[in-house]
């Protein structure tokens, strides 16, 4: 599965049953809106799962 934050793809994630994986990045928002794209990474099951999202302002 793939996540894109502000148009930048994070490393593809492969999960196993009954487990959780965290991923993240630091990004800049310039247009007043953060976009998170969930996209099929090519597996047999096309669905991408999201449990939680935390957005923390940081020093540039």
């Amino acid at each position: 599965m793939l996540f894109e934050i502000e148009g930048v793809a994070l490393s593809p994630i492969t999960t196993v049953a009954a487990s959780f994986t965290g991923t993240g990045t630091v990004t800049s928002v310039t247009d007043g809106q953060l976009t998170v794209v969930l996209r099929d990474g090519g597996g047999a099951d096309p669905n991408v799962v999201i449990n939680s999202l935390v957005i923390t302002p940081v020093a540039p």
Binding site: V48, V54, V58
Partner: protein
Amino acid sequence: MTSTLLVDNVPGVLADVDVTLDIMHDFDSDLRVRLLAPDATSILLFEGTGGHLDGFVQTTLDDEAVTSIIDGAAPFTGAFRPMGTLGALDGKDPNGTWTLEITDDEPANEGTLRGWSLTVVTSIGPEIRRFDFGTPTSPLAAGHTRVAHNTVYSAALGYGWLSGTIGSRDRTTGGDLGRDFCFTPSGTFAVDLPAGSYQIDLVTGTARPGTTSCCSRSKEWH
């Protein structure tokens, strides 16, 4: 043994902490390594991992790493998730003395800490946004905003799904964050935010398997 680092004059509160270390040792699994924050919060980075192999070379402990340190192998070069959760330090003051504590269970094998460093990201804003994805009625994690499959973006709401065919499930087991989720083969979620820099952390997975599938690049159960 212990080693300390002083962090000084860093504004804001912690939003992310990573530890990079370099340890030479004859028998990795003898070691237990902890990070102690300035407020004495103790985070287990790893213990009993690596078997009889030698050393940790430029090993970064990072909550966002794909691979757990448990699944790594010497010399552990690269990023690995620690056994403890460095995210427990989020919101704390980064300034003060940080301590790396290394315990060797078997004194017959000697080792050397060749160096270590901290990477800290701090938050300068008061508002951290937390979203819990799930169904319209599944339990909501404390301090989080609910997002369900039907949470469509609007300017008035300021967040929501911009596009995609979105589903949601509640597996009814596990914590409030993990038991429920949204899923889509292609979708976009948006949050209105002031211009600036942000640390983005997301979690994917399920508390128990549903249907199974297998693939080379992506494997998911829903």
